[in-house]
Symmetry: C2
Subunit: 294 residues, 2 copies
């Protein structure tokens, strides 16, 4: 009995589906029709291979930070990141990579001082509303697969800093960062950074390669000793890889009825483990489902 | 110029204080009077030493889950966890430890079937209100150093699942778990577990020892191979350690004017890096300051 307890207790913590019960979020994803999925263009996928063999895949968000995203594509194509490392890992905050303290010239096509793409116009966006209050903005929801905060009155929308979000390190305003140094969120959503920094995408595969790295013991999680830097073998766009090697992913269309159902169950877990459904959910606790191309 | 950019960009991400600027949350903590701090009783500190040498310290919350907390003390005093390991690490969710699949008898003083201490009476609690909406409960704030959600109408309060929170693995209701298997949150706050499971405390030192462990590759983050289990040398109450070796910690009194100021700045970052203060903050993004006894 004890051995059952321990394994199933763990299993139920994330709501694996027992027989004859109400649906879990995973059940809804598993039963989704093919029409509910959207394929991510290969040109919007950044593939970062660590020298140790692990792979981290990032989906770019050109609709939210077009100039910064164009920079990142130019940096990848111009081999700017040759010799790059992960040089900072701060617990419950970010992992950061790039060349650190480098004077390498920018490759062709890089805009050295991009505009402050911290928000974009709300107008024209089709939003699936979260349906729960958000502490950081008047509105919150999902646009084309992305978690978004917005203000109907002020007319802006922004990408939200959630687990796995990828942003651009910058100095003080009006500098917005060029894109050479990037960070990924590996802890509780630091939403205070929303509207203060350019987010360019999110890790859709391999975030655990970054989140399980040793924490830096220097100030702000920097590795004190360069010997601790985690070498990155290469950073490429999937579209520049040979077709046979190219990874391909889909995300659940956040405008689809399937996603709306998924969202509702995320806010009201009623499968066997849950005695009291919350009746609400945090924007960053609704991970938009992503899968490898089936 | 570039080398400056990269280091300071990182530094500013968490708001290190530049000269002549408005206060950061860390500044407020640094300037706090001694009277704003409360010492954690040694009997409420669980000290878990990993065999690798790292230490994880947990503060227990007897005011919220008294029977489960009493069990954990009895388990520690009865050496129940001899041979325990961390056997599950699921990315963006939990690290879990204990004996896993064991039939070891409970030590003296353990209540094998504790009541469902998922909430407690709101009455009698002095709450410092968060001042921002919470997606999971009608109210949110801080009680005696703990992040708490509550319902004035229904009269309950509960500990919130935040980064570092420690809870008790359980099977299906009415089982509430005995306390032999514990988990700590290592990702985005899984608040859907609030009011569905007994939280018994939080990691106040060394959470990075758990959050940086390799992720398990089995279902739900279980280590597939027992050789991957992370051995725990011992788990003791600080009060059972020799006085000279006993660690001691303080937390910032959440009813103090200092904490109220800290909370306000957390919701309205206006130091140099921040162009647009959020005007709100998530309950789990207000880490209650804890320090080693000065």
């Amino acid at each position: 009995m004890r051995s059952l307890l321990l394994v199933t207790a763990a299993a139920l913590l994330i709501g694996a589906a027992p027989a004859q019960k109400l649906l879990t979020p995973n059940d809804i994803v598993a039963k989704s029709p093919a029409s509910a999925w959207r394929t991510i263009p290969a040109d919007d996928l950044v593939v970062m291979d660590l020298a140790s063999g692990g792979r981290v895949v990032i989906q770019l968000a050109p609709a939210f930070a077009p100039v910064h995203v164009a920079n990142i594509k130019a940096l990848a194509r111009g081999n700017y990141w040759n010799g790059a490392t992960v040089y900072r890992v701060q617990d419950n905050y970010v992992a950061q990579w790039g060349l650190n303290e480098s004077d390498k010239p920018w490759p062709q096509g890089v805009t050295p001082k991009p505009p402050a793409e911290y928000t974009r116009a709300l107008k024209g966006l089709q939003i699936t509303r979260l349906g729960s209050p958000d502490p950081y903005a008047p509105g919150a929801g999902f646009v084309d697969g992305w978690p978004v905060a917005y203000s109907p009155r002020a007319g802006w929308a922004d990408l939200a800093h959630c687990y796995g979000s990828v942003g651009v390190g910058r100095d003080l305003s009006p500098d917005t960062g060029t894109g050479g140094e990037l960070y990924a969120v590996i802890g509780q959503a630091p939403r205070q950074l929303d509207r203060n920094i350019a987010l360019v995408g999110r890790v859709i595969d391999g975030i655990d390669r970054l989140s399980s790295l040793p924490r830096g013991t220097g100030d702000l999680g920097f590795y004190k000793d360069k010997a601790q830097y985690v070498p990155i073998a290469r950073i490429r766009l999937a579209s520049d890889m040979p077709a046979a090697e190219r990874p391909s992913y889909q995300y659940l269309d956040t405008a689809s009825p399937t996603f709306v159902r998924y969202l509702r169950v995320r806010a009201n877990r009623h499968d066997s483990f849950y005695i009291r459904p919350a009746g609400g959910v945090d924007l960053c606790n609704v991970q938009v489902p992503v899968r490898k191309m089936p």
